[in-house]
Assembly symmetry: C2
Homo-oligomer: 299 residues x 2
């Protein structure tokens, strides 16, 4: 997972507006697309052509003002595969006029998939991934996204299948869990012929949101949680007022949900240095990661 | 005049999308506003609060996709004075939905001034400046802008007015050109009491456009001309096809219009180094300036 930007509403020269790329097997999935995202993609050498889906959390500019530029650029680069943008239904009112005015000759189609950010549901499924919405609590309808990798097939232990002369046509069945029966009738248990794949990973993206424990059952046990931490504890009143979280609140969610790791971001522009946000989070959930532009995290 | 960005449609990590700031007396006037403009303003320490008018040349994304972010940010910074955006009438279709969706609580008002880019006319006038449209020739309706400073008042020569005991109430009349008559009836000619102000400056911005000599009478004698030079002469066919100019064409316009200086920009993303564009322009109009991000030019 690549962090393209993890600033908040007010732009600074230190922080880019929010955008992330989930890189899984042969595809890229983008989450949010703040202004300047396409230039960050260039800077981080992200391959534009591999982008397949974009997930928008909510209609605040720092999470979606980079879409028009990115959509135009994909057209100039000659994309032809469909691009699907998932997000609150208001996305249609925002993007339709822009597509009509600026993108009349786009060589690919843009499909908008309107979702209800207030409901936890399956948003997208492909051969390697299921993506679910995570209802959040912000000033306007807003949801996070849970990326749940599908189980991978077990690995064939080549030395063993060679030893037992397993025919090639049987490999698919082995991957499905079948035992192998030799011509002599001997049963070779599947476990001797295959090695389990790495367990599938789960990544939860939660921004922007007030402290909202209702998300805990959805993200429970995730390998990686990105949770916004706009404010320090000393600005907790401001966090409450603006429906954002403090670093300590983000860490509390991580602890209660028993996730393996927590990355925080969406820092307020008022903080030059965000090291103390990590300290505040660490006190509750040790080894919190401070997200920053250009960082790659592996769930 | 500050160059915030002088790249063309395809974004790169070297070049920002088009935007410039004209800084005159107490106000800032922006021309075009590509994606990322607000961050460039921060980088160049441009004072957001002094911005009074924005002029948009045409509805291509690399000239206006930075507007939504900038308008939102001005709101967050607590602006309250009206902001006027001048540009082709389609600007309304682009910005109105964005203002409705993202800027419902803006503490200031945005006024759109629709202009006809096909007609050379006065677009805006304030106490220090007149701005005229310059019809250009591009794939869609597009115009440049001519910034014509108004004549400044002459300077009072304090030593002389003291010598003749000119009363303070007379100063305004002296600035208007009046002579001073002493109580004894002696006529002191205005020229002995005042020193003429610097002559007013004229700056012409012409982007995007094919080679279009019809603009010459409008920009004739300008102190500074910014003219797009997207392509090198070797790509002249591509320039014609896309309604852009080559560096040599920009220089030809500068020469024919007898402007004092030429700055070129809007370089195609295909050129890593643009030094040879300067060479091609110099051959026609010596001492052409290669515009670049962060550059300040004084007409």
């Amino acid at each position: 997972m690549n962090i393209l930007g993890c600033g908040s509403a007010l732009p600074t020269t230190r922080r880019m507006a929010t955008s992330q790329i989930v890189d899984l097997r042969d595809k890229l999935y983008m989450i949010d697309c703040g202004e300047g995202t396409q230039v960050q993609m260039r800077r981080m050498r992200v391959r534009f052509g591999r982008l397949s889906h974009i997930f928008i959390s909510h209609l605040h500019g720092d999470h979606c003002f980079g879409l028009p530029g990115l959509l135009s650029t994909l057209g100039m680069l000659g994309r032809n595969g469909e691009l699907v943008i998932h997000g609150p239904k208001e996305l249609e009112n925002y993007l339709r006029p822009i597509l009509d005015i600026f993108c009349q000759k786009l060589p690919y189609s843009v499909r908008l998939n309107p979702i209800d950010p207030n409901v936890h549901s399956l948003v997208m499924e492909d051969h390697s991934l299921k993506v679910y919405s995570i209802p959040l609590r912000h000033r306007i309808p807003c949801c996070g996204y849970l990326f749940a990798e599908k189980p991978k097939e077990p690995h064939i232990i080549r030395e063993m299948t060679d030893f037992y002369n397993v025919p090639v046509r049987m490999m698919k069945e082995l991957k499905m869990g079948a035992d192998f029966i030799t011509p002599e009738g001997e049963v070779i248990p599947n476990a001797r012929l295959t090695r389990p794949a790495d367990p599938p990973k789960r990544y939860a993206y939660c921004s922007d949101t007030a402290y909202y424990p209702a998300i805990i059952p959805i993200i429970e046990g995730a390998d990686l949680l990105y949770h916004e931490a706009t404010f320090a504890e000393s600005d907790a009143a401001r966090a409450k007022e603006t429906y954002h979280s403090t670093a300590r609140q983000a860490a509390t969610i991580a602890k209660e949900a028993k996730v393996k790791r927590l990355a925080i971001g969406h820092y307020s522009a008022r903080y030059e240095d965000v090291g103390f946000l990590k300290e505040e989070a660490d006190a509750i959930f040790p080894q919190t990661i401070l997200a920053s532009e250009g960082m790659t995290l592996r769930p």
